[in-house]
Symmetry: C2
Subunit: 234 residues, 2 copies
DNA sequence: GCAATAGTCTTCGTATACGATTTCGTACTC
DNA sequence: GAGTACGAAATCGTATACGAAGACTATTGC
Protein backbone atom coordinates (compact mmCIF):
# COMPACT_ATOMS: atom_id res chain seq x y z
CA UNK A 1 0.00 0.00 0.00
CA UNK A 2 2.99 2.24 0.42
CA UNK A 3 4.53 1.97 -2.98
CA UNK A 4 3.51 5.56 -3.24
CA UNK A 5 6.93 7.02 -3.38
CA UNK A 6 8.80 4.80 -5.72
CA UNK A 7 5.88 3.81 -7.88
CA UNK A 8 7.75 0.63 -8.56
CA UNK A 9 5.53 -2.29 -9.37
CA UNK A 10 5.57 -4.10 -6.06
CA UNK A 11 7.56 -7.18 -6.99
CA UNK A 12 7.75 -9.61 -4.16
CA UNK A 13 4.56 -9.12 -2.22
CA UNK A 14 6.22 -11.72 -0.09
CA UNK A 15 5.54 -15.41 -0.34
CA UNK A 16 1.81 -15.40 -0.83
CA UNK A 17 0.03 -12.94 -2.96
CA UNK A 18 -3.61 -13.81 -2.77
CA UNK A 19 -5.39 -13.49 -6.07
CA UNK A 20 -7.32 -10.69 -4.53
CA UNK A 21 -4.14 -8.85 -3.74
CA UNK A 22 -2.75 -9.47 -7.16
CA UNK A 23 -5.84 -8.09 -8.77
CA UNK A 24 -5.83 -5.11 -6.48
CA UNK A 25 -2.22 -4.33 -7.17
CA UNK A 26 -2.54 -4.88 -10.89
CA UNK A 27 -5.58 -2.71 -11.40
CA UNK A 28 -4.26 -0.03 -9.12
CA UNK A 29 -0.98 0.02 -10.99
CA UNK A 30 -2.74 0.34 -14.29
CA UNK A 31 -4.80 3.22 -13.00
CA UNK A 32 -1.87 5.01 -11.46
CA UNK A 33 0.38 4.59 -14.47
CA UNK A 34 -2.35 5.73 -16.78
CA UNK A 35 -3.05 2.57 -18.75
CA UNK A 36 -6.58 2.87 -17.51
CA UNK A 37 -7.42 6.51 -17.88
CA UNK A 38 -10.31 8.20 -16.10
CA UNK A 39 -13.66 7.09 -17.37
CA UNK A 40 -12.27 3.76 -18.51
CA UNK A 41 -14.81 1.04 -18.08
CA UNK A 42 -13.59 -1.71 -15.81
CA UNK A 43 -15.35 -4.88 -16.87
CA UNK A 44 -14.93 -7.58 -14.28
CA UNK A 45 -14.84 -10.54 -16.63
CA UNK A 46 -12.33 -8.85 -18.88
CA UNK A 47 -9.96 -8.02 -16.08
CA UNK A 48 -10.35 -11.45 -14.59
CA UNK A 49 -9.38 -13.04 -17.88
CA UNK A 50 -6.42 -10.73 -18.33
CA UNK A 51 -5.11 -11.68 -14.93
CA UNK A 52 -5.92 -15.34 -15.26
CA UNK A 53 -8.20 -15.43 -12.25
CA UNK A 54 -11.90 -15.60 -11.73
CA UNK A 55 -14.16 -12.64 -11.22
CA UNK A 56 -14.58 -13.00 -7.49
CA UNK A 57 -11.16 -11.72 -6.45
CA UNK A 58 -11.44 -8.98 -9.02
CA UNK A 59 -14.69 -7.83 -7.51
CA UNK A 60 -13.05 -7.54 -4.16
CA UNK A 61 -10.15 -5.60 -5.58
CA UNK A 62 -12.48 -3.19 -7.31
CA UNK A 63 -14.42 -2.64 -4.13
CA UNK A 64 -11.26 -1.82 -2.28
CA UNK A 65 -10.26 0.63 -4.95
CA UNK A 66 -13.69 2.13 -4.69
CA UNK A 67 -13.22 2.67 -0.97
CA UNK A 68 -9.99 4.43 -1.80
CA UNK A 69 -11.72 6.67 -4.27
CA UNK A 70 -9.81 5.50 -7.31
CA UNK A 71 -12.81 3.79 -8.83
CA UNK A 72 -16.44 4.73 -9.14
CA UNK A 73 -18.92 1.93 -8.90
CA UNK A 74 -22.55 1.81 -9.90
CA UNK A 75 -24.91 -0.91 -8.96
CA UNK A 76 -25.70 -3.32 -11.77
CA UNK A 77 -23.83 -1.15 -14.17
CA UNK A 78 -20.17 -1.49 -13.46
CA UNK A 79 -17.03 0.23 -12.42
CA UNK A 80 -15.17 3.05 -14.09
CA UNK A 81 -11.90 4.71 -13.25
CA UNK A 82 -12.74 7.73 -11.15
CA UNK A 83 -12.36 10.84 -13.20
CA UNK A 84 -10.94 14.05 -11.95
CA UNK A 85 -13.85 16.27 -12.15
CA UNK A 86 -12.47 19.76 -11.42
CA UNK A 87 -14.69 19.79 -8.37
CA UNK A 88 -13.29 16.49 -7.28
CA UNK A 89 -9.81 17.82 -7.81
CA UNK A 90 -10.58 20.75 -5.58
CA UNK A 91 -11.92 18.55 -2.82
CA UNK A 92 -8.99 16.20 -2.99
CA UNK A 93 -6.40 18.92 -2.97
CA UNK A 94 -8.07 20.70 -0.09
CA UNK A 95 -8.25 17.51 1.91
CA UNK A 96 -4.68 16.73 1.09
CA UNK A 97 -3.55 20.19 2.11
CA UNK A 98 -5.01 19.54 5.53
CA UNK A 99 -3.83 16.02 6.18
CA UNK A 100 -0.47 16.50 4.53
CA UNK A 101 0.09 19.68 6.46
CA UNK A 102 -0.61 17.83 9.67
CA UNK A 103 1.49 14.85 8.65
CA UNK A 104 4.43 17.05 7.77
CA UNK A 105 4.21 18.91 11.06
CA UNK A 106 4.04 15.68 13.03
CA UNK A 107 6.86 14.24 11.00
CA UNK A 108 9.13 17.25 11.26
CA UNK A 109 10.77 16.51 14.63
CA UNK A 110 11.74 13.08 13.34
CA UNK A 111 13.39 14.31 10.17
CA UNK A 112 17.15 14.00 10.44
CA UNK A 113 19.87 15.92 8.64
CA UNK A 114 20.28 13.06 6.20
CA UNK A 115 16.65 13.33 5.19
CA UNK A 116 16.91 17.05 4.78
CA UNK A 117 19.93 16.59 2.56
CA UNK A 118 18.08 14.06 0.49
CA UNK A 119 15.09 16.34 0.14
CA UNK A 120 17.33 19.21 -0.83
CA UNK A 121 18.92 17.14 -3.52
CA UNK A 122 15.54 16.22 -4.91
CA UNK A 123 14.58 19.85 -4.89
CA UNK A 124 17.76 20.71 -6.74
CA UNK A 125 16.77 18.23 -9.39
CA UNK A 126 13.40 19.91 -9.59
CA UNK A 127 15.01 23.28 -10.04
CA UNK A 128 17.10 21.84 -12.81
CA UNK A 129 14.02 20.31 -14.31
CA UNK A 130 12.51 23.75 -14.66
CA UNK A 131 14.74 24.55 -17.64
CA UNK A 132 13.36 22.12 -20.14
CA UNK A 133 10.12 21.69 -18.31
CA UNK A 134 8.73 18.17 -18.10
CA UNK A 135 5.53 18.18 -16.06
CA UNK A 136 5.44 14.44 -15.53
CA UNK A 137 8.97 14.22 -14.20
CA UNK A 138 8.51 17.34 -12.15
CA UNK A 139 5.42 15.89 -10.57
CA UNK A 140 7.17 12.71 -9.64
CA UNK A 141 10.04 14.58 -8.06
CA UNK A 142 7.53 16.69 -6.25
CA UNK A 143 5.99 13.62 -4.76
CA UNK A 144 9.38 12.25 -3.81
CA UNK A 145 10.21 15.48 -2.08
CA UNK A 146 7.06 15.59 -0.03
CA UNK A 147 7.28 11.92 0.76
CA UNK A 148 10.54 12.54 2.53
CA UNK A 149 8.89 15.19 4.61
CA UNK A 150 5.76 13.41 5.72
CA UNK A 151 6.87 9.79 5.69
CA UNK A 152 8.12 9.91 9.27
CA UNK A 153 4.69 10.86 10.54
CA UNK A 154 4.19 8.67 13.59
CA UNK A 155 0.44 8.45 13.17
CA UNK A 156 -0.26 5.73 10.63
CA UNK A 157 -3.84 6.80 10.08
CA UNK A 158 -2.85 10.24 8.97
CA UNK A 159 -0.08 8.84 6.86
CA UNK A 160 -2.54 6.55 5.17
CA UNK A 161 -4.84 9.45 4.39
CA UNK A 162 -1.95 11.28 2.81
CA UNK A 163 -1.09 8.30 0.66
CA UNK A 164 -4.66 7.99 -0.47
CA UNK A 165 -4.77 11.60 -1.42
CA UNK A 166 -1.62 11.34 -3.48
CA UNK A 167 -2.87 8.21 -5.15
CA UNK A 168 -6.03 9.88 -6.19
CA UNK A 169 -4.06 12.67 -7.73
CA UNK A 170 -1.80 10.22 -9.46
CA UNK A 171 -4.56 9.62 -11.97
CA UNK A 172 -3.74 12.90 -13.63
CA UNK A 173 -0.13 12.23 -14.20
CA UNK A 174 0.92 15.58 -15.51
CA UNK A 175 -0.56 17.23 -12.45
CA UNK A 176 -1.39 20.84 -12.07
CA UNK A 177 1.99 21.96 -13.19
CA UNK A 178 1.18 21.36 -16.80
CA UNK A 179 -1.52 23.98 -16.56
CA UNK A 180 0.31 26.42 -14.35
CA UNK A 181 4.00 26.05 -15.08
CA UNK A 182 4.69 29.29 -13.32
CA UNK A 183 3.57 27.74 -10.09
CA UNK A 184 6.41 25.25 -10.43
CA UNK A 185 8.98 27.97 -9.85
CA UNK A 186 7.31 29.22 -6.72
CA UNK A 187 6.92 25.68 -5.57
CA UNK A 188 10.63 24.99 -5.61
CA UNK A 189 11.31 28.09 -3.57
CA UNK A 190 8.67 27.19 -1.05
CA UNK A 191 10.24 23.78 -0.71
CA UNK A 192 13.48 25.35 0.38
CA UNK A 193 11.65 27.54 2.87
CA UNK A 194 9.92 24.47 4.24
CA UNK A 195 13.23 22.72 4.69
CA UNK A 196 14.61 25.71 6.58
CA UNK A 197 11.68 25.58 8.96
CA UNK A 198 12.29 21.92 9.60
CA UNK A 199 16.02 22.36 10.08
CA UNK A 200 15.52 25.07 12.62
CA UNK A 201 12.96 22.98 14.46
CA UNK A 202 10.27 25.59 13.99
CA UNK A 203 7.00 25.37 15.83
CA UNK A 204 4.70 22.58 14.70
CA UNK A 205 1.97 25.12 13.99
CA UNK A 206 4.24 27.10 11.75
CA UNK A 207 5.34 24.08 9.80
CA UNK A 208 1.82 22.84 9.44
CA UNK A 209 0.58 26.13 8.17
CA UNK A 210 3.46 26.44 5.73
CA UNK A 211 2.93 22.97 4.36
CA UNK A 212 -0.79 23.51 4.02
CA UNK A 213 -0.40 26.81 2.32
CA UNK A 214 2.17 25.38 -0.02
CA UNK A 215 -0.41 22.96 -1.29
CA UNK A 216 -3.40 25.24 -1.34
CA UNK A 217 -1.35 27.78 -3.26
CA UNK A 218 -0.99 25.20 -6.01
CA UNK A 219 -4.70 24.63 -5.89
CA UNK A 220 -5.42 28.34 -6.05
CA UNK A 221 -3.10 28.74 -9.00
CA UNK A 222 -5.00 26.03 -10.78
CA UNK A 223 -8.35 27.56 -9.98
CA UNK A 224 -7.25 31.00 -11.06
CA UNK A 225 -6.02 29.54 -14.30
CA UNK A 226 -8.97 27.32 -15.15
CA UNK A 227 -11.61 29.94 -14.54
CA UNK A 228 -11.05 33.56 -13.85
CA UNK A 229 -14.23 33.42 -11.81
CA UNK A 230 -14.91 32.11 -8.35
CA UNK A 231 -12.05 32.49 -5.96
CA UNK A 232 -12.54 30.41 -2.88
CA UNK A 233 -10.78 31.04 0.36
CA UNK A 234 -8.85 28.24 1.92
CA UNK B 1 -23.06 6.25 5.20
CA UNK B 2 -24.21 9.30 7.05
CA UNK B 3 -26.42 7.75 9.63
CA UNK B 4 -23.75 8.90 12.00
CA UNK B 5 -25.85 11.36 13.87
CA UNK B 6 -29.07 9.56 14.41
CA UNK B 7 -27.62 6.10 14.60
CA UNK B 8 -30.99 4.91 13.41
CA UNK B 9 -30.87 1.76 11.38
CA UNK B 10 -31.11 3.30 7.95
CA UNK B 11 -34.53 2.03 6.92
CA UNK B 12 -34.85 3.58 3.52
CA UNK B 13 -32.13 1.97 1.45
CA UNK B 14 -34.78 2.49 -1.17
CA UNK B 15 -36.32 -0.32 -3.12
CA UNK B 16 -33.60 -2.88 -3.39
CA UNK B 17 -30.71 -3.05 -1.06
CA UNK B 18 -28.22 -5.40 -2.61
CA UNK B 19 -27.33 -8.30 -0.37
CA UNK B 20 -23.93 -6.81 -0.13
CA UNK B 21 -25.37 -3.57 1.18
CA UNK B 22 -27.59 -5.37 3.59
CA UNK B 23 -24.70 -7.30 4.98
CA UNK B 24 -22.62 -4.16 5.23
CA UNK B 25 -25.30 -2.25 7.02
CA UNK B 26 -26.17 -5.13 9.31
CA UNK B 27 -22.65 -5.88 10.41
CA UNK B 28 -21.79 -2.24 10.78
CA UNK B 29 -24.87 -1.65 12.88
CA UNK B 30 -24.01 -4.54 15.13
CA UNK B 31 -20.50 -3.25 15.59
CA UNK B 32 -21.59 0.28 16.28
CA UNK B 33 -24.32 -0.66 18.68
CA UNK B 34 -22.02 -3.01 20.49
CA UNK B 35 -23.59 -6.38 19.75
CA UNK B 36 -20.26 -7.29 18.27
CA UNK B 37 -17.72 -5.99 20.72
CA UNK B 38 -14.07 -5.46 19.88
CA UNK B 39 -12.21 -8.67 19.36
CA UNK B 40 -15.37 -10.47 18.33
CA UNK B 41 -14.63 -13.04 15.71
CA UNK B 42 -16.56 -12.43 12.53
CA UNK B 43 -17.07 -15.78 10.86
CA UNK B 44 -18.25 -15.38 7.33
CA UNK B 45 -20.41 -18.47 7.16
CA UNK B 46 -22.07 -17.66 10.44
CA UNK B 47 -22.95 -14.13 9.45
CA UNK B 48 -24.12 -15.29 6.07
CA UNK B 49 -26.48 -17.75 7.66
CA UNK B 50 -27.79 -15.19 10.13
CA UNK B 51 -28.59 -12.84 7.32
CA UNK B 52 -29.94 -15.50 5.03
CA UNK B 53 -27.44 -14.84 2.28
CA UNK B 54 -24.38 -16.57 0.97
CA UNK B 55 -20.85 -15.80 2.00
CA UNK B 56 -19.88 -13.82 -1.05
CA UNK B 57 -21.77 -10.63 -0.23
CA UNK B 58 -20.65 -10.92 3.36
CA UNK B 59 -17.05 -11.05 2.27
CA UNK B 60 -17.50 -7.87 0.36
CA UNK B 61 -19.13 -6.17 3.29
CA UNK B 62 -16.34 -7.22 5.60
CA UNK B 63 -13.76 -5.88 3.21
CA UNK B 64 -15.49 -2.55 3.09
CA UNK B 65 -15.60 -2.41 6.84
CA UNK B 66 -11.94 -3.24 6.88
CA UNK B 67 -11.19 -0.30 4.61
CA UNK B 68 -13.10 1.84 7.06
CA UNK B 69 -11.04 0.56 9.93
CA UNK B 70 -13.92 -1.01 11.82
CA UNK B 71 -12.70 -4.53 11.17
CA UNK B 72 -9.32 -6.14 11.22
CA UNK B 73 -8.70 -8.84 8.68
CA UNK B 74 -6.03 -11.46 8.53
CA UNK B 75 -5.30 -13.61 5.57
CA UNK B 76 -6.58 -17.15 5.88
CA UNK B 77 -7.51 -16.52 9.45
CA UNK B 78 -10.52 -14.31 9.51
CA UNK B 79 -11.94 -11.02 10.57
CA UNK B 80 -12.37 -9.58 14.01
CA UNK B 81 -13.97 -6.39 15.19
CA UNK B 82 -11.21 -3.84 15.44
CA UNK B 83 -10.31 -3.31 19.02
CA UNK B 84 -9.42 -0.03 20.57
CA UNK B 85 -5.92 -0.56 21.50
CA UNK B 86 -4.97 2.53 23.55
CA UNK B 87 -2.45 3.31 20.83
CA UNK B 88 -5.13 2.99 18.21
CA UNK B 89 -7.35 5.24 20.25
CA UNK B 90 -4.63 7.83 20.34
CA UNK B 91 -4.11 7.71 16.60
CA UNK B 92 -7.79 7.90 15.87
CA UNK B 93 -8.42 10.79 18.20
CA UNK B 94 -5.47 12.72 16.85
CA UNK B 95 -6.58 12.18 13.30
CA UNK B 96 -10.10 13.14 14.21
CA UNK B 97 -8.92 16.28 15.93
CA UNK B 98 -7.31 17.37 12.70
CA UNK B 99 -10.02 16.50 10.21
CA UNK B 100 -12.87 17.50 12.47
CA UNK B 101 -11.19 20.78 13.25
CA UNK B 102 -10.88 21.47 9.55
CA UNK B 103 -14.42 20.32 8.85
CA UNK B 104 -15.82 22.52 11.57
CA UNK B 105 -13.91 25.52 10.32
CA UNK B 106 -15.07 24.96 6.76
CA UNK B 107 -18.57 24.38 7.96
CA UNK B 108 -18.76 27.41 10.22
CA UNK B 109 -19.73 30.04 7.65
CA UNK B 110 -22.65 27.88 6.61
CA UNK B 111 -24.04 27.38 10.07
CA UNK B 112 -27.20 29.40 10.53
CA UNK B 113 -28.79 30.74 13.71
CA UNK B 114 -31.21 27.83 13.74
CA UNK B 115 -28.32 25.38 13.83
CA UNK B 116 -26.63 27.28 16.59
CA UNK B 117 -29.82 27.22 18.59
CA UNK B 118 -30.15 23.51 18.06
CA UNK B 119 -26.56 22.93 19.12
CA UNK B 120 -27.07 25.07 22.18
CA UNK B 121 -30.07 23.05 23.17
CA UNK B 122 -28.12 19.84 22.83
CA UNK B 123 -25.39 21.33 24.94
CA UNK B 124 -27.93 22.30 27.57
CA UNK B 125 -29.04 18.70 27.68
CA UNK B 126 -25.45 17.69 28.14
CA UNK B 127 -25.04 20.08 31.00
CA UNK B 128 -28.13 18.62 32.56
CA UNK B 129 -26.78 15.18 31.98
CA UNK B 130 -23.78 16.04 34.13
CA UNK B 131 -25.84 15.74 37.32
CA UNK B 132 -26.58 12.05 37.26
CA UNK B 133 -23.77 11.27 34.91
CA UNK B 134 -24.49 8.76 32.18
CA UNK B 135 -21.43 8.37 29.96
CA UNK B 136 -23.24 6.63 27.15
CA UNK B 137 -25.94 9.24 26.84
CA UNK B 138 -23.42 12.01 27.24
CA UNK B 139 -21.34 10.59 24.45
CA UNK B 140 -24.29 10.40 22.13
CA UNK B 141 -25.24 13.97 22.83
CA UNK B 142 -21.66 14.95 22.30
CA UNK B 143 -21.73 13.42 18.88
CA UNK B 144 -25.02 15.11 18.07
CA UNK B 145 -23.56 18.41 19.08
CA UNK B 146 -20.49 18.11 16.94
CA UNK B 147 -22.46 16.74 14.04
CA UNK B 148 -24.40 19.98 13.89
CA UNK B 149 -21.14 21.87 13.70
CA UNK B 150 -19.33 19.93 11.02
CA UNK B 151 -22.18 18.55 8.98
CA UNK B 152 -22.32 21.59 6.71
CA UNK B 153 -18.75 21.09 5.62
CA UNK B 154 -18.82 21.60 1.87
CA UNK B 155 -15.99 19.20 1.19
CA UNK B 156 -17.48 15.69 1.13
CA UNK B 157 -14.09 13.99 1.42
CA UNK B 158 -13.30 15.69 4.67
CA UNK B 159 -16.78 15.05 5.94
CA UNK B 160 -16.39 11.40 5.12
CA UNK B 161 -13.15 11.24 7.06
CA UNK B 162 -14.85 12.77 10.05
CA UNK B 163 -17.64 10.22 9.87
CA UNK B 164 -15.18 7.40 9.69
CA UNK B 165 -13.34 8.68 12.70
CA UNK B 166 -16.51 8.91 14.73
CA UNK B 167 -17.57 5.48 13.65
CA UNK B 168 -14.34 4.00 14.78
CA UNK B 169 -14.78 5.59 18.15
CA UNK B 170 -18.36 4.37 18.31
CA UNK B 171 -17.01 0.93 19.14
CA UNK B 172 -16.25 2.07 22.65
CA UNK B 173 -19.67 3.29 23.47
CA UNK B 174 -18.99 4.77 26.81
CA UNK B 175 -16.22 6.87 25.34
CA UNK B 176 -13.49 8.61 27.21
CA UNK B 177 -15.90 10.33 29.53
CA UNK B 178 -16.37 7.24 31.59
CA UNK B 179 -12.69 7.38 32.50
CA UNK B 180 -12.37 11.11 32.82
CA UNK B 181 -15.73 12.43 33.97
CA UNK B 182 -14.17 15.69 34.95
CA UNK B 183 -13.36 16.35 31.32
CA UNK B 184 -17.08 16.29 30.62
CA UNK B 185 -17.58 19.52 32.52
CA UNK B 186 -14.86 21.33 30.66
CA UNK B 187 -16.18 19.95 27.44
CA UNK B 188 -19.57 21.54 27.88
CA UNK B 189 -17.99 24.91 28.54
CA UNK B 190 -15.78 24.63 25.50
CA UNK B 191 -18.82 23.83 23.43
CA UNK B 192 -20.35 27.13 24.37
CA UNK B 193 -17.12 28.94 23.55
CA UNK B 194 -17.08 27.24 20.19
CA UNK B 195 -20.61 28.35 19.47
CA UNK B 196 -19.70 31.93 20.33
CA UNK B 197 -16.86 31.83 17.83
CA UNK B 198 -19.18 30.56 15.15
CA UNK B 199 -21.88 33.12 15.92
CA UNK B 200 -19.43 35.96 15.70
CA UNK B 201 -18.06 34.63 12.43
CA UNK B 202 -14.59 34.31 13.84
CA UNK B 203 -11.63 33.61 11.61
CA UNK B 204 -11.52 30.13 10.12
CA UNK B 205 -8.10 29.60 11.66
CA UNK B 206 -9.37 30.45 15.10
CA UNK B 207 -12.34 28.13 14.83
CA UNK B 208 -10.21 25.34 13.49
CA UNK B 209 -7.71 25.65 16.27
CA UNK B 210 -10.43 25.79 18.91
CA UNK B 211 -12.18 22.73 17.53
CA UNK B 212 -8.95 20.82 17.28
CA UNK B 213 -7.87 21.72 20.78
CA UNK B 214 -11.25 20.82 22.13
CA UNK B 215 -10.76 17.29 20.91
CA UNK B 216 -7.10 16.88 21.75
CA UNK B 217 -7.84 18.13 25.25
CA UNK B 218 -10.10 15.13 25.68
CA UNK B 219 -7.37 12.92 24.40
CA UNK B 220 -4.84 14.50 26.75
CA UNK B 221 -7.15 14.02 29.67
CA UNK B 222 -7.45 10.38 28.80
CA UNK B 223 -3.71 9.97 28.46
CA UNK B 224 -3.02 11.76 31.73
CA UNK B 225 -5.52 9.52 33.43
CA UNK B 226 -4.21 6.26 32.06
CA UNK B 227 -0.60 7.23 32.66
CA UNK B 228 -1.21 8.43 36.19
CA UNK B 229 -1.99 4.94 37.35
CA UNK B 230 -3.93 1.86 36.61
CA UNK B 231 -7.28 2.92 35.29
CA UNK B 232 -9.95 1.07 37.14
CA UNK B 233 -10.87 -1.93 35.13
CA UNK B 234 -14.49 -2.90 35.22
C1' DG C 1 5.09 -35.36 32.68
C1' DC C 2 6.27 -32.69 28.69
C1' DA C 3 7.03 -31.94 24.00
C1' DA C 4 6.62 -32.91 19.28
C1' DT C 5 4.00 -34.61 15.53
C1' DA C 6 0.23 -36.21 12.95
C1' DG C 7 -4.50 -35.97 11.94
C1' DT C 8 -8.80 -33.68 11.90
C1' DC C 9 -11.72 -29.81 11.85
C1' DT C 10 -12.84 -25.22 11.13
C1' DT C 11 -12.72 -21.40 8.15
C1' DC C 12 -11.07 -18.94 4.46
C1' DG C 13 -10.06 -18.37 -0.91
C1' DT C 14 -11.47 -18.93 -5.49
C1' DA C 15 -13.74 -21.14 -9.47
C1' DT C 16 -17.84 -22.12 -11.74
C1' DA C 17 -22.77 -21.62 -12.57
C1' DC C 18 -26.99 -19.42 -12.99
C1' DG C 19 -30.46 -15.82 -12.27
C1' DA C 20 -31.27 -10.69 -12.45
C1' DT C 21 -30.71 -6.27 -14.39
C1' DT C 22 -29.33 -3.06 -17.56
C1' DT C 23 -28.25 -1.54 -22.12
C1' DC C 24 -28.31 -1.49 -26.86
C1' DG C 25 -30.26 -2.60 -31.37
C1' DT C 26 -34.03 -3.41 -34.29
C1' DA C 27 -38.53 -3.43 -35.87
C1' DC C 28 -42.92 -1.63 -35.85
C1' DT C 29 -46.32 2.02 -35.51
C1' DC C 30 -48.09 6.69 -35.71
C1' DG D 1 -39.25 10.25 -40.19
C1' DA D 2 -39.40 9.94 -35.20
C1' DG D 3 -40.67 7.64 -31.19
C1' DT D 4 -41.79 3.56 -28.68
C1' DA D 5 -41.80 -1.26 -27.63
C1' DC D 6 -39.90 -5.56 -27.71
C1' DG D 7 -35.97 -8.70 -27.68
C1' DA D 8 -31.13 -10.07 -27.49
C1' DA D 9 -26.59 -9.40 -25.71
C1' DA D 10 -23.68 -7.97 -22.19
C1' DT D 11 -22.62 -7.57 -17.51
C1' DC D 12 -23.39 -7.67 -12.83
C1' DG D 13 -25.00 -10.18 -8.31
C1' DT D 14 -25.19 -14.20 -5.63
C1' DA D 15 -25.31 -19.17 -4.63
C1' DT D 16 -22.97 -23.38 -4.42
C1' DA D 17 -18.85 -26.25 -4.49
C1' DC D 18 -14.36 -27.59 -3.74
C1' DG D 19 -9.49 -26.94 -2.60
C1' DA D 20 -6.12 -24.90 0.74
C1' DA D 21 -4.34 -22.95 4.85
C1' DG D 22 -4.33 -22.43 9.63
C1' DA D 23 -5.81 -24.00 14.42
C1' DC D 24 -6.95 -27.30 17.58
C1' DT D 25 -6.52 -31.96 19.63
C1' DA D 26 -5.05 -36.33 20.56
C1' DT D 27 -1.53 -39.54 20.53
C1' DT D 28 3.07 -41.13 20.84
C1' DG D 29 7.89 -40.94 22.09
C1' DC D 30 11.31 -39.39 25.24
Amino acid sequence: MNDTATSAATPAAAHTASKSEQAYAAVKARIVDGSYSPGYRLVLAKIAEDLGVSVVPVREAIRRLEAEGLVKFERNVGATVAGIDPTEYLYTMQTLSIVEGAATALSAPLIGPADVARARSVNAEMRECLEHFDPVRFTRLNQDFHSILFEHCPNPHILDLVHRGWNRLASLRSSTFRFVPRRAHESVDEHEALLRLIETAADADVIEKAARLHRSATLDAYLAQSNAGSHSAH
